[in-house]
């Protein structure tokens, strides 16, 4: 059996001069660059709104609910009235969960933006 011949495999030459084409669009403030940046801003702002919406519902809804139906405050779970359970304990993991969701998705959006911008325009 013959010795396997070592073959050097190389890809086509990279167009290093063209690699940062889209970052240059942004640097030179062209129409395409502006579109790229606005789309990033819109994506991140939409994410912020999506994460803050549940908080808004809780912060606006809970006082109104207790204002309209004060008897809710008398409901007990394991002897603890519901307001203490919700506002004293449950709200904190809820906030942490929303924050964790936000960080995960915001970082993903930034990675996708970086890939979009750094990829060569071929």
């Amino acid at each position: 059996m013959n010795e396997p011949v070592r073959v050097r495999v190389t890809g086509p030459p990279r167009h290093t001069t063209r690699r940062r084409a889209r970052t240059r669009e942004i640097d030179e403030e062209t129409a395409l660059g502006a579109v790229l940046i606005s789309s990033l801003l819109r994506t991140q702002l939409r994410l912020a709104m999506m994460v803050l919406l549940p908080l808004l519902v809780v912060a606006a809804g809970l006082p109104l609910a207790f204002h309209l139906w004060p008897a809710l405050a008398g409901i007990r779970l394991l002897g603890v009235p519901v307001p203490w359970l919700v506002l004293g304990v449950l709200v904190y993991p809820f906030l942490l969960l929303l924050g964790w969701q936000y960080v995960r998705r915001a970082e993903r959006h930034e990675r996708e933006f970086a890939e979009l911008v750094e990829i060569a325009d071929r």
């Binding site: 990033l40 203490w84 906030l95 942490l96």
Partner: protein, 507 residues
């Protein structure tokens, strides 16, 4: 003085000495002006988050919430909820862009974003105003604590805290403060957690009487569990206004914002904020426990110093004295850490914008600024000892929410903001919330609708500031700064992308 106060005196001295020791240890690393201001931006998320937590948990969190919960009930839970939720808004709207802006302080951000020295000047005045409004109750709380725990005259607390803060800030600046603050988060948590566990054990041994069924002080049982201010529609308004002030005010507090510049980059700023959410959420589980147990055991106790007196009432004996010493030390740490952070923020602004760098070196003018930042509210606290602690802190949040929150949110997310719009909005928010502050520092009871609106102004002053900032900016479109597109690129793109971001300032 009896022997029972000895452990508390030892605890206060230990906290002060430990704070100064860690501060001096940090001094060995402080070599440049940049170290003094922002720790040369190399603080890791876990350490930075502990530092933010340590700095943020003030007298109001450590002492105030428990007493308010005992006296007024579940509607006071909105304070800790709002102080934590504020970090979620900060995370989603401000954290990473603020770090990426490359500015050190709020006035720096305003100037970089809008290219206007006048906006910067207005912001500097606001930082000092909010900082002093927040420092003042810290010094007062210190007076109350040392009076309750050690029997010291009321002026001793402000003077002692003022001196320790001043020495610490002047010697080490931000870098040493980062270690001090991180240490103080864990100290405060321990100081509240250990006595709470001991008291819960005693409470279980006593047959676990349900706090909601006890007659107690203040509101009767069913009303005590209702998470709303009393007075029908007025109560609902007060609750909503409190929510607006605390949710939106956090991002505009000068000492909170300055900590974000110590993160290495925008991503780290986000992760830091997430850890802060966890640390605060854990801490805020504890004050309501004190409030509830206070209802069972401290029916005649005073709400202001409930946290300090409860361990002695529940546990008693030598154990009670030792636990009291622990909470006293924790409370002292709360004053020290929050005052240090605020003093640094105010001193930074005073040294940069009032003293200037032309006459003195950066470090010298920072030290001068620190003296002014600490002495003014300290003197006020000694001179006017009877203004409510929790009220003044709440008002600082209302002013921050009505001024810096609109500036940050619109400045980061909206291209159309102009210097004229920013100034108009800042002034509208400041005058609106400031009228409320002036009103409520003079009178305490609110029964008419006008008095209710003024005593908790955020629900109308924040929308007013946003609307003014937006409409005046729309009316002056020619003033939109020409560097706005490039600045937004800097705010929103990750640092590792090689993009043109404009010049970054270096101290």
């Amino acid at each position: 003085m009896t022997g029972a106060e000895v452990p508390s005196i030892v605890a206060v001295v230990l906290v002060a000495v430990a704070t100064l020791a860690i501060g001096t240890w940090g001094l060995r690393f402080s070599r440049t002006t940049s170290d003094f201001f922002v720790a040369s931006r190399t603080v890791r998320p876990a350490l930075n988050a502990s530092a933010i937590g340590g700095e943020y948990l003030s007298a109001a969190s450590f002492l105030g919430v428990a007493g308010l919960v005992m006296a007024f009930g579940a509607d006071m839970l909105w304070y800790p909820v709002g102080w934590t939720a504020g970090y979620l808004l900060l995370l989603a709207l401000v954290a990473a862009p603020l770090r990426r802006s490359g500015a050190y302080t709020l006035p720096d951000f305003a100037e970089a974003r809008l290219g206007s020295a006048r906006v910067r000047a207005v912001c500097s005045v606001l930082v000092v105003a909010i900082g002093w409004l927040y420092l003042f109750p810290q010094f007062q709380g210190a007076g109350l604590t040392l009076e309750a725990a050690l029997g010291a005259p009321r002026w001793v607390g402000p003077v002692v805290v003022g001196l320790v803060v001043l020495v610490n800030v002047m010697s080490g600046g931000m870098r040493s403060i980062t270690f001090v603050q991180a240490f103080q988060y864990w100290l405060k948590l321990t100081a509240l957690l250990v006595p709470a566990l001991a008291m819960v054990l005693v409470w279980v041994g006593d047959g676990a009487p349900n706090p909601t069924d006890v007659a107690g002080v203040g509101d009767p049982g069913p009303l005590w569990s209702l998470p709303l201010g009393s007075g029908g529609g007025q109560g609902l308004y007060l609750t909503y206004s409190l929510i607006v002030a605390t949710f939106l005010g956090t991002m505009g507090l000068p000492h909170v914002v300055v900590r974000f510049y110590t993160n290495p980059d925008g991503r780290a700023a986000r992760r830091t904020t997430l850890v802060v959410l966890a640390l605060l959420g854990f801490f805020y589980l504890l004050p309501p426990v004190y409030g509830a147990l206070g209802r069972v055991y401290a029916a005649s106790g005073t709400a202001d110093v409930l946290v300090l007196e409860l361990p002695r009432l529940v546990v008693g004996g030598v154990g009670g004295d030792l636990l009291t010493a622990l909470v006293t030390g924790g409370a002292f740490a709360a004053f020290l850490s929050t005052s240090s952070g605020l003093s640094i923020a105010v001193a930074g602004v005073i040294s940069q914008d009032v003293i200037g760098r032309s006459e003195h070196s950066g470090v010298t003018s920072f030290r001068l600024g620190a003296v002014v930042a600490v002495v003014v509210p300290c003197v006020l606290a000694v001179a006017a000892p009877d203004v409510g602690v929790a009220r003044a802190v709440g008002l600082a949040f209302a002013v921050a929410a009505s001024t810096f929150c609109p500036l940050l949110v619109l400045g980061i997310w909206w291209r159309g903001l102009t210097p004229a719009g920013a100034i108009a909005g800042l002034l509208a928010g400041f005058v609106g919330s400031g009228t409320g502050v002036a009103y409520s520092l003079r009178s305490s009871e609110a029964t008419s609708w006008l008095a209710v609106l003024l005593s908790q102004p955020a629900a109308w002053s924040v929308p007013l500031a946003f609307a003014t900032m937006w409409s005046v900016s729309r009316a002056t479109p020619s003033q939109v700064p020409r560097h706005t597109p490039r600045f937004l690129v800097r705010l929103h793109t990750p640092e590792d992308l090689r993009l043109e971001r404009g010049l970054e300032r270096h101290v």
